[in-house]
Amino acid sequence: MAPDTFMDLIGVWLAAVLSLCVFSFLFRDNILYRLTEAVFVGGSVGIGIVLTFWNGFYPKLVVPFQKFIAAVAQQPAQRWVWAAYMLLSLCLGVLFLSRFSRKQAWLSRFPMAYLIGLGTGMGIPLGIQTFIFEQTKATLIPLVVFQGELVQWAQINWIATLGNTSLVVGVLCVLYYFFFSFKKTDLFSRATSRLGVAYLMLGFGASFGYTVMARISLLTGRIDFLKEDWILGSLRYFGW
């Protein structure tokens, strides 16, 4: 984003100064950070309004209805069903506004129930398919892995074998850890739960470590922006 025009130059300076204001929060809360926060939050609310209108309301409701009314006589039955459905949604949506009245606020339960029903109904089968089935399928692996075609002691790939076994043991132990309604007081249960916790901790540590690189990349990118685009870019803009 090295600046080419005057507006770009102002933009880059603004971006750089605002970035520094955000960084200043790391030292302590201060007035500059509060200012940036106010601008950021306010701006994102504005952007939310704009996106809701131009990406949702206008193309999905206004434009189709204009087209629908323009040729209202020749519309097929399906389009009428569509129009009725959209009008119904509109009415449901309007019920949200009942929140402004103390007496009729309960009417807003209808649209909420509708949205929650949509979300959960959609989520149930998808959850089974993409989470339970996919993960179960991925865990269906043989405990013994052979290097070649031959089935012999000497041909066992020990690393893969041990790895697969530990994977299976881990999945079972962690699943066991998540049992809530059984009393787990005997030795076996406690050992299994402990092992489950061990797997969880190893996994979390690994996830944490794995993310470090990506986050540092972001910071490097940001510092490069400050250095290259802001300072050097401004110098270049003024012909240095």
């Binding site: 959960t120 993409t130 269906l140 043989p142 405990l143 089935v151 079972l172 309604s181 979390f204 996830s207």
Partner: protein, 275 residues
């Protein structure tokens, strides 16, 4: 006959039969135990350390006379993790209502905000202290992830809540919230279903509910037999999955040793349509 075949093909996706079967088995198990529990037999539930500390956190906040902050994630109202978070919020609000401390609930989704306003208000009423409820405490901040994280960080630094709760579904902002909160010295209790974010909560918070524990929370806190029954049903569903896993792994291991490929049918049971 032919007609039947076409109807089948257009009105029911046979490739998804496995999902339907699993859905029926699992929900039957859960529903069975829920209705079983209605008869009112006392049910056991194991200790969940994160939840036991909820009362401790509330106690400390009231002792210090400082507010509490409850973040219910960035999911929408249709997200089951958000619903689980709302259940915990109901419990927390009822506990808090007795004291003069504020419960701040900044929201990222207007629908969630509407529900939570109602929820907190009803909890206060149930606790007999409707006058303590302030509508502005449950508020909408903005609909976007990072501005929201920034605003909540600012809130934590300025209002200095004594206890922070982060429950629900989270993305990258988890650590921003948790670390900014840790810097203020608050007791922090987190719980999320997003497995990628659990590590960040674990390192930055005092107690963390891992994955499914978030869903078990409402049963654990309320001890309502219906919900405990549901928990029992969930456990049996898990048992079914474990048995299926064991069977499949045994079959595949036999396969690898023979070597043959006869148990592929078992793996195919879990195949998703089109994939």
């Amino acid at each position: 006959m032919n007609v039947l075949a076409t109807i089948d093909a257009t009105w029911f996706d046979l490739d998804k039969l496995n999902v339907l079967v699993a859905l029926v088995i699992l929900s039957a198990l859960i529903l069975y135990f829920i209705y079983h529990a209605r008869r009112g037999k006392a049910l056991f539930v194991r200790r969940i350390p994160g939840l036991e500390s909820v009362e401790e956190a509330i106690g400390r906040a009231t002792e210090l006379g400082k507010p509490m902050l409850y973040v219910s994630g960035i999911g929408g109202a249709g997200d089951v993790a958000t619903i689980a978070a709302m259940n915990i919020l109901g419990y927390v609000a009822e506990q808090v209502a007795h004291y003069d401390t504020d419960l701040l609930v900044p929201c990222i989704d207007p629908v969630v905000m509407t529900i939570e306003q109602e929820l907190v208000k009803n909890s206060y009423t149930r606790a007999g202290r409707p006058e303590n409820y302030k509508e502005d405490n449950v508020c909408y901040l903005t609909g976007e992830q990072f501005p929201y994280a920034m605003a909540v960080s600012g809130m934590m630094v300025r209002e200095k809540p004594a206890a922070n709760f982060f429950m629900g579904s989270f993305a990258a902002e988890s650590l921003i919230l948790a670390e900014a909160g840790a810097a203020t010295g608050a007791i922090q209790i987190a719980g999320t279903s997003a497995e990628h974010q659990v590590p960040f909560f674990i390192v930055a918070c005092d107690y963390t509910l891992i994955g499914e524990e978030l869903f078990a929370a409402s049963a654990y806190l309320s001890r309502e037999p219906l919900l405990l029954g549901c928990l029992k049903g969930q456990d049996y569903a898990k048992l079914v999955i474990i048995v299926a896993l064991l069977a499949g792994i045994a079959l595949l291991t036999v396969d690898a040793c023979l070597p043959s490929e006869f148990s592929q049918w078992f793996v195919q049971l879990f195949a998703s349509a089109g994939g």
